[in-house]
């Protein structure tokens, strides 16, 4: 009977009903989801005006060197953003057509931009001075890409004329054409380990691997993606590539002879861009794990763990997504949409606390041990001794009973101020809580008296809540009946108030809509159930 006294004077906060949760969230996914969620719109940058442009953002590219500036290509402009402050630094506008792609050189000093006329322009990233113009493509150059390792002289470009060209930038000459694609070349990447290996993807459903050392013999390898290839990237090892086309992302093993390792089909619409991301949380040895970030026209950004072949995170944006970029230092994530919005997410950086004086402090206690005075009750520290002591690992912790936090409505419930509790819940705006409070009121038989006592503005809150939530299936059972009672009880007030009438009209529409849906669902059920019965009989 020991437990009884403890529970005796306890109060129970009003909780929403338990709902089944999805089982997919394993133990490992949770910190990762938290990590990806931590990319937020930075608060210190106030209202980035240039964040939204008018035209689709066709390409986002990060500079490989600190501070990782990035360039976004949209219409006839390439905007350079500062990697530190995330503000738009400058614009490059002297292009002959609309910018189709942009890429930084491995040292971040030069920026190559391909435009819709087929010209590739090379700018100095800092001064924006136009250095070279590489002409050769007959149609829009959708692919520009510098070798990633150390080569600063060459450049790869591909265009809608289905040709891939390898340039010597200094002389503005095309060293050779890489022929083989039969449709627009829209994407490509350079190998992270070798300066001579490139990959390109085309609308002819093929991905071709090129080695510029053996350029004459055509492509080294050809992979059939099966759908027009929208994006192709090398994974960090250089042995795997990921390609996207249609709504699938495929992972290939190029060292193992172009074997298809995995097909990811979780997007609903065309996957428009891929990029490499890194998960860096904690300080443990597996701190940095690579992920593939994919964005699609369905508005989802998904994070794919290619070591486990598992989607670890997905996030929805309100617009079709066209391009994605992730800064090499894992601090910034940029997503461009077809409506010209740029979603910049920055992770809060932890303060790097390198304690300079740490060493001396460590040494001190040992030396001081015997010199330290024995504390006496005359001294103030005598009474605070041991208070800052941390428990050792093996110590048994006697925990303080956890303090239950009470929401405002719970406190009011404790005082039996039912109407105020009801209004407090309504103003909080959490629909689950409001319904839980309503259920508690029903259990106390006070709901209807609360409803009839509500004043004008409070009634407005309630009716607005009903209008928003009454047709949601999980609440409908309670709220529809309540809505009827509210109308019955407060008909005079509703008639006299313009806003309430408005809400009720909306509610009526929602109910009508819901009835229509129910009707059509019933029809579908009518069609399906005989089929199911037949199927059950056969089996």
């Amino acid at each position: 009977t020991d437990c009884c006294p403890a529970t005796m004077a306890e109060t129970f906060p009003v909780k929403p009903k338990l709902r089944p949760t999805s089982d997919g969230t394993g133990e490992t996914a949770k910190p990762e989801a938290k990590y990806w969620r931590s990319f937020r719109k930075p608060k210190d940058v106030e209202a980035i005006a240039s964040e939204s442009f008018l035209y689709p953002i066709s390409s986002v590219s990060f500079s490989p060197v600190v501070p990782h500036d990035f360039a976004a290509a949209h219409s006839a402009t390439v905007t350079l953003f500062s990697g530190k402050t995330l503000e738009a630094k400058s614009k490059i506008t002297d292009l002959s057509g609309s910018a189709a792609s942009a890429a930084f050189r491995c040292d971040g000093k030069l920026l190559a931009v391909g435009d819709s006329t087929g010209a590739v322009h090379v700018f100095e990233a800092k001064s924006r001075s136009h250095l070279r113009r590489l002409r050769g493509h007959a149609a829009a150059a959708r692919l520009v890409c510098y070798p990633r390792a150390a080569d600063k002289l060459h450049l790869l470009s591909g265009g809608d004329d289905s040709v891939v060209k390898y340039w010597d930038v200094t002389t503005e000459t095309c060293l050779f054409d890489l022929l083989g694609h039969k449709d627009y070349v829209r994407c490509g990447d350079s190998s992270p380990v070798s300066d001579e290996m490139f990959v390109s993807g085309s609308y002819d459903h093929r991905i071709k691997l090129w080695d510029v050392r053996v350029s004459s013999s055509g492509s080294v390898m050809e992979l059939k993606h099966g759908l027009p290839v929208e994006s192709v990237i090398y994974l960090p090892s250089g042995g795997l590539i990921a390609s996207s086309g249609g709504n699938v992302v495929k992972i290939w093993d190029v060292i193992g002879g172009g074997k298809l390792l995995h097909t990811m089909e979780s997007h609903n619409k065309t996957v428009t861009d891929l990029c490499m991301g890194k998960v860096g949380y904690g300080t443990s040895e597996d701190a940095e794990q690579c992920r593939i970030l994919s964005v699609s026209l369905d508005g989802y950004m998904k994070v794919f763990d290619f070591s486990k072949f598992k989607i670890t995170y997905s996030m929805r944006f309100p617009q079709p997504l066209l391009s994605v970029g992730f800064s090499p230092d894992c601090s910034t994530r940029v997503i461009g949409t077809s409506k010209g919005n740029l979603y910049i997410g920055r992770r809060k950086k932890k303060l790097e606390t390198v304690d300079e004086g740490g060493y001396s402090e460590w040494g001190a206690p040992l030396a001081d041990e015997h010199q330290r005075k024995v504390l006496r009750p005359t001294h103030f520290r005598y009474f605070t001794r041991g208070q800052s002591r941390r428990p050792a690992e093996r110590d048994y912790l006697v925990k303080r009973p956890k303090k239950v936090k009470f929401a405002k409505h719970d406190k009011l419930f404790k005082k039996f101020r039912h109407k105020e509790a009801f209004v407090a819940a309504l103003t909080s705006g959490d629909s689950g809580k409001v319904v839980a409070v309503m259920e508690e009121l029903v259990a106390r038989k006070k709901l209807l008296s609360c409803v009839s006592n509500l004043e004008g503005s409070e009634l407005n809150l309630l009716v607005e809540f009903l209008q928003k939530n009454a047709t949601r299936p999980i609440y409908a059972g309670l709220l529809m009946n309540l809505a009827l009672k509210v109308i019955e009880f407060r008909v005079k007030d509703i008639r006299s108030d313009q806003q309430l009438r408005e809400h009720l009209r909306n509610l009526k529409q929602a109910v009508e809509e819901e009835t229509r849906i129910q009707q059509s669902l019933l029809e579908i059920q009518g069609i399906v159930s005989p089929i199911l019965k037949i199927a059950a009989k056969r089996s």
Binding site: C3, P5, M8, T11, D23, E439, N481, K485
Partner: protein, 664 residues
């Protein structure tokens, strides 16, 4: 024959002189509990009817604190004197009248030995019940306040202080100078003379009020009387009996200077200086008690809140959420200990200045007001092996009570709510079914709808931690059968399967779902899921049970009995045609005999053979409950011959093969 589960709260308890023991009137006996462990240490057996009051002989000197003597009064018309340390009966006084309360004022006032060294006689004031009437007049019981000489073991003849129909319990002031009681709308108070003898004159006063009184308390030192009424008001009279008790008869002319301004709040010609009213309780005040120094007044009522009033300022302090109406409050000789008796058959021991509940002595919480609602009966479930019974209580809990030890084992909070005893019951735990080994439990709770809004039935599955013997919630299923309520639940004896039947015409089988067999997986991933749904002609399912070997599920669909294969969810057979919807179904042990009962206008008890699929015999009996022995083929029924006479029941033993009862 065992008897147990007695009420601990029929009368106020009493503390021993050292405060280490508490004496509780439990039916025909007085139980002695230790206040430190809240366990029973002894029992005083001897009375033949309910013990109504217990008075501990106080210690007059510090050295006699170890003395453990007490007087008890009972409805059997005797007063007994005990040594409760032994425990041993020392004396019995028979007065022939049932006693409903007793006080002994002379224990409390300082007794001075008379000049010849002899202690004066001890008088007890008792409230007796006398049945009057007869000769064509209806019988009625009259309560009388009488005086009894305990030293000479006899009633004092001719002294009847008061007589009335509705006399409340007699209360004595802590100083022993006054006794009083409440009767309807007035209080009556007598002054006990310092040297009490058989024929002595009493000075008395009456205090009036517009509402019926429910509680009364005397201030320990001053002439202050507090009384509570049915509306929750507490009235405090100061200077009571200023004229009547002030000693000098000659001051009778003091009455002349009374006028309204002088005596605020005092009604008409009541003898008091002033009267103040405190109103916090919303329902009747049932417990009132002054602290020993008189600075505080404790009050308790139906709300289940103990209120401490500072007498001078009227400031309040609370011990809320006791969960049950407070019946009595008593402080012990030990200043740090006091106790409250609650209507849910619990006595809480409080650590005083902080008002913390130290421990509780709890009896069985019998459901009293549960069957107010049609179709929401309460069920008491007995686990035969451990002798433990599970009782749903009013404050949304299930109490496990050991029948063999006659004490509470544990309590499980089914629904996370606080019970406000004054409120109407809106949430009911109405069905409990433990599995055969008590490792899991299934409960059904119902929240009543408010004018058709928000009714909710939830089915909960609980898992028992075998080490700690506590139940933890494993699965909650809201509205398992759409809108309709659950009529019965039953566990399959062989494995983890539960059937729940609803009035809405279907039954569901629930199984425990182990996702994967990996041991390190969290407990939350295991839950109960619906395995199968079945219905028979959309008829309301009223009762269900599994056969002893778990191979057959029997569900009553109104008047017929349907047999199902629980694994394949197939209807095996339909038998029977009873005159009324079947209310209970029970298999007799492991045999293939099934008992069904139905109630209503044409009740019936029938025994069916499952092997022959037909009725063997039946009786037209109004059966309240059926129980079966586990191994043999006998069963017992608690039956009433007429549905109307609730009191008279018959327990009959039957053998399944034979319609002739084995014993009645």
């Amino acid at each position: 024959m065992f008897t147990g589960g007695r009420s601990y709260v029929s009368s106020p308890p009493a503390f021993s002189n050292d405060g280490k023991r508490i004496l509780v009137c439990t039916g025909n006996t007085v139980s002695v509990f230790s206040t430190s462990t809240a366990l029973q240490t002894g029992e005083l057996e001897g009375h033949e009817a309910q013990v109504t009051s217990v008075v501990v002989v106080p210690a007059s000197t510090p050295s006699s604190k170890v003395l453990c003597n007490c007087w008890t009064a009972s409805l059997d018309g005797t007063l007994k004197y005990w040594d409760f340390a032994a425990p041993e009966l020392m004396r019995t006084i028979s007065i022939k009248f049932p006693i409903c309360s007793m006080v002994i004022p002379s224990f409390l006032s300082n007794q001075t030995p008379e000049s010849n060294g002899k202690l004066p006689d001890i008088y007890a004031y008792i409230c007796t019940i006398e049945v009057k009437g007869g000769d064509g007049k209806p019988h009625y019981s009259v309560k009388q306040i009488r005086k009894c000489n305990l030293s000479k073991s006899r009633l004092v003849g001719g002294v009847t202080l008061a007589e009335g129909l509705e006399i409340g319990p007699v209360i004595v002031s802590p100083s022993g100078k006054y006794i009083g009681f409440h009767e309807k709308r007035k209080l009556r108070v007598w002054e006990i003379p310092a040297s009490d003898c058989e024929n002595v004159g009493y000075r008395k006063i009456r205090l009036h009020h517009t509402k019926s009184f429910t509680a009364l308390a005397f201030h320990p030192t001053e002439r202050i009387i507090a009384a509570g009424d049915v509306t929750g008001r507490i009235l405090i009279w100061r200077g009571c009996g200023h004229q009547a008790f002030s000693g000098n008869e000659s001051l009778g002319n003091g009455r002349s200077n009374k006028n309204i301004e002088d005596r605020p709040g005092v009604r008409d010609d009541d003898d008091a200086e002033s009267c103040t009213t405190w109103h916090w309780h919303s329902t009747q005040v049932s417990a009132l008690f002054f602290s020993s120094d008189g600075a505080y007044l404790y009050s308790g009522g139906r709300e289940g809140v103990l209120v401490v009033w500072q007498l001078d300022t009227g400031k309040k302090n609370f011990l809320p959420r006791i969960g049950s109406p407070v019946l009595y409050y008593l402080s012990s000789p030990d200043p740090s200990l006091s106790c409250i008796s609650c209507a849910d058959n619990r006595i809480h021991l409080l650590r005083m200045p902080r008002m913390e509940i130290l421990s509780s002595i709890s009896g069985i919480q019998l459901p009293c007001s549960m069957n107010l609602f049609e179709g929401l009966g309460s069920v008491v479930v007995i686990n035969g092996n451990a002798g433990v019974i599970a009782v749903p209580t009013e404050n949304y809990r299930v109490q496990f009570y050991s029948l063999l030890d006659d004490r509470e084992v544990s309590v499980v909070q089914i629904c996370e709510r606080n019970h406000h005893p004054a409120d109407e019951i809106r949430v009911v735990v109405n069905l409990i079914a433990p599995s055969l080994d008590f490792s899991t439990m299934c409960t059904v709770e119902t929240r009543l709808a408010e004018e058709g809004i928000g009714g909710l039935v939830s089915l909960k599955f609980w898992a028992c931690d075998l080490q700690k013997k506590t139940f933890s919630l494993s699965t909650v299923i809201y509205e398992p059968h759409r809108d309709s309520g659950i009529s019965s639940i039953a566990f399959r004896p062989t494995d983890c399967m539960v059937v729940s039947t609803s009035c809405g015409g279907d039954f569901k089988l629930w199984v425990e779902n182990h996702k994967g067999s990996i041991k390190d997986q969290k407990h939350q991933n295991n839950g109960w899921v619906c395995h199968a749904v079945g219905s028979y002609k959309r008829k309301a399912m009223t009762a269900s049970t599994f056969s002893g070997d778990g191979s057959v599920l029997v569900v009553a669909a109104e008047r017929v009995i349907t047999l199902w294969d629980p694994d394949k969810n197939m209807l095996l057979d339909v038998i029977g045609d009873s005159p009324q919807p079947i209310s209970t179904l029970t298999f007799i042990g492991n045999s293939d005999y099934l008992i069904s009962t139905c109630q209503g206008s044409s009740p019936q008890l029938s025994v069916w053979s499952m092997s022959k699929l037909r009725r063997i015999w039946c009786y037209k009996l109004y059966v309240d409950s059926v129980t079966c022995s586990v191994d043999s083929s006998t069963f017992a029924v608690l039956a009433r011959l007429m549905p109307s006479d609730a009191g008279k029941g018959v327990i009959a033993m039957f053998s399944a093969e034979n319609p002739v009862p084995l014993s009645i």
